[in-house]
């Protein structure tokens, strides 16, 4: 019975932490209404028209690799920004990349926009995204740069909303909260559920309660001078979590890292289950290598998984089953509420899959502790402290291990 009480206690603790995450998300979203001002006659109005924010020109750097779901619309959403002066640089490593054709089509569709497609092989480091960004950065014209992933779609006022933070010279980096949209297959439904609960909640929680910069690289706005001051892209060319490290370095330099309440969409439509598992195994490894012992708290903050453990480790009884079901339903309700306040496009019934997702995530949690290799965009690396990458050796124990894994995979395929 003691085992049950221990796990029940940890589960309740996890549920409380989840409650705090929801609070943090609400509070972050309320920042929007927090900046409301009043007209002289007392009527509430948005602050933007009154504050006269400056609109400095900005270079949007878009590293592209392969076809993301909704790629055309994602890229197009940056071409129709309600912003006076900006350039978009689509950057690729290879003319044969299928994203090249999409980038060219976008450029042809908007001949009056300042769009360039840069195709240049760059092998500066082991992080393929940084390798892709360096040629775009070298081409960019403006002091403000916005690094934006290819799988995000934004609203027309996105640039205006994030660049206003740069009015404060102490701000070094602005990132955004993201929400997953568009799930049409089981993998993408689970992905969106996870983005809209754990990822969204954690980012807002760290920002609000722990004042920790937790930058998600899907949208990063900064000045070139600030980036150069922390060593430029070369300082992060060999790390997996370049976004987190850039945020951390900015913070260390005394610059503010701001989490904008303007929400951007991460469109995930046709993911398979394997892609979902692969991504979160990689992200898990990354957090394990960066957070160390703090990574353990992630398991506790997964109340659904914790509530199922007594059934496995103690006994399968009515008490343990009802407890697990009660916690699962509470979590479903919490996710549903988060979905409501973030204007999620998901069918409410989809949230019933939330406990399944949490159990899968709970199982994935153990993988980073057992293995320190990561496969990213087809390349295999060893991952070290602070997510520093090193090539997977071709000889010795590693090579045999992966040859065996590859042989098994080939046989199954």
């Amino acid at each position: 019975m003691e085992i049950f009480y221990v796990f029940a206690g940890l589960t309740i603790l996890g549920l409380l932490a989840y409650g705090l995450q929801i609070w943090a998300v609400r509070s972050t979203l309320k920042k929007n209404t927090g900046v409301l001002e009043y007209w002289s006659d007392g009527i509430k109005c948005p602050s933007t028209p009154l504050l006269h924010h400056s609109h400095p020109p900005v270079s949007i750097l878009k590293p592209l690799k392969g076809l993301d779901d909704n790629l055309f619309d994602n890229l197009e959403s940056f071409c129709v920004q309600d912003y006076p002066e900006y350039e978009i640089i689509f950057s690729l490593q290879d003319y044969n990349d299928p994203a090249y054709k999409v980038a060219r089509k976008i450029k042809d569709k908007y001949p009056d926009k300042d769009i360039s497609v840069v195709v240049k092989q760059c092998n500066a480091g082991l992080n393929p995204k940084i390798n892709n960004l360096i040629p775009a950065y070298d081409t960019s014209k403006y002091e403000l740069i916005l690094i934006s992933d290819s799988n995000v779609m934004v609203e027309k006022n996105y640039l205006k909303e994030i660049i206003k933070h740069m009015d404060d010279p102490d701000v070094g980096l602005v990132s955004n909260i993201i929400r997953g949209v568009g799930g049409r297959t089981i993998g993408s439904v689970l992905e969106n559920l996870h983005l809209n609960s754990f990822i969204l909640g954690s980012v807002c929680f760290l920002d609000k309660f722990l004042k920790m910069p937790c930058v998600v690289g899907k949208s990063m706005l900064m000045r070139k001078s600030d980036l150069e001051a922390i060593g430029g892209f070369k300082a992060v060319k060999d790390v997996l979590a370049e976004d987190y490290i850039i945020g951390k370095k900015m913070h260390k330099k005394g610059k503010k890292v701001v989490l904008s309440s303007h929400m951007i969409k991460n469109v995930n439509e046709y993911w398979g289950l394997k892609k979902f598992i692969n991504r979160h195994t990689r992200w898990g490894r990354l957090r394990w290598k960066i957070g160390g012992i703090k990574y353990l708290t992630e398991l506790i903050s997964n109340p659904v998984f914790m509530s199922f453990l007594p059934m496995l480790l103690w006994e399968f009884s009515r008490t343990t089953l009802f407890f697990a079901l009660f916690i699962s339903l509470t979590k479903v309700a919490g996710d549903l509420y988060l979905g409501k306040i973030t204007d999620s496009d998901s069918n409410p019934l989809v949230y019933l899959l939330s406990p399944v997702k949490d159990i899968i995530i709970g199982l994935i949690w153990f993988v980073p502790i057992l293995s320190n290799t990561v496969v990213w965009r087809g390349n295999r690396y060893l991952i070290g402290k602070d997510s520093v990458l090193s090539p997977c050796p071709d000889t010795g124990m590693w090579s045999w291990r992966y040859r065996l894994v590859d042989a098994i995979r080939a046989r199954i395929a």
Binding site: D69, L71, P98, V102, K105
Partner: protein, 229 residues
């Protein structure tokens, strides 16, 4: 070069993705030309009757609606993605034996053609409409349940009607088409989103229906590519 796929199914027959979403899927991926080719199944046997009953086939009574919706979506696709969408059907003569079965793509079709008609009648009706006639998956495949061998086995009789043969279909490649030096194209036989990544055709011609038909018929400036992400 135009990136093309001329063999695509939607929920009008046995595809799992709606017409609009299918077009968006190809448009978002940067395709230049696609043909929507839902099944028109022969209703003269049990298999065909089941297909009709479960609405896995375009029928004479919804053909006009089907073509009109494809044309409407084609306008949207051209405007939004600069992608040309051509209406078509896949005439599906299904029998228990793969030796008797045949599937034929009719691209740029205007009037309904029944799959229950004889092969000659189908080919002549298609020629009258100036539709492009493609023999689908004509040889042995990795998934033998989809095999349709009739046209290949009777190629001496029917090759004269056929504008091109599928040299590759989704993951299968039919080297016999190459050996016989027949005109060729490659298609996905798209039914699910994952089929986007499969064999495709590259055409070196103008992006217009007439140029594309001529290019395939003359089989000059045609290449195939395995489209992968």
């Amino acid at each position: 070069m135009l990136l093309c796929d001329f063999h695509i199914h939607t929920k009008y027959s046995d595809g799992s993705v709606e017409l609009r979403r299918t077009i968006d899927l190809f448009g978002q991926a940067g395709f230049d030309v696609i043909a929507i080719t839902d099944h028109v199944v022969n209703g003269d046997n049990g298999i065909g009757k089941l297909a009709h009953r479960f609405r896995l086939s375009v029928r004479e009574n919804n053909f006009d609606e089907y073509i009109s919706n494809v044309r409407q979506e084609a306008e949207r696709a051209l405007d939004k993605y600069g992608m040309l969408v051509v209406p078509g059907v896949e005439i599906s003569k299904n029998y228990l034996s793969s030796e008797k079965s045949a599937h034929i793509l009719l691209i740029d079709i205007k009037e309904f053609i029944s799959a229950s008609w004889s092969f000659e009648k189908i080919f002549l009706a298609a020629k009258e409409q100036e539709a492009l006639i493609i023999a689908c998956h004509p040889h042995h495949m990795s998934d033998f349940s989809r095999e349709t061998l009739f046209l290949w086995n009777n190629r001496d009789k029917y090759a004269k009607y056929i504008d091109a043969w599928e040299i590759a279909n989704r993951d299968d490649v039919f080297n016999v088409i190459s050996l016989k030096k027949y005109p060729y194209i490659a298609n996905s036989d798209f039914h699910r989103a994952r089929h986007l990544y499969s064999w495709k055709t590259l055409l070196n011609c103008e992006k217009s229906v007439e140029s594309i038909k001529q290019c395939i018929r003359h089989n000059k400036g045609v290449a195939i590519t395995l489209f992968r992400n």
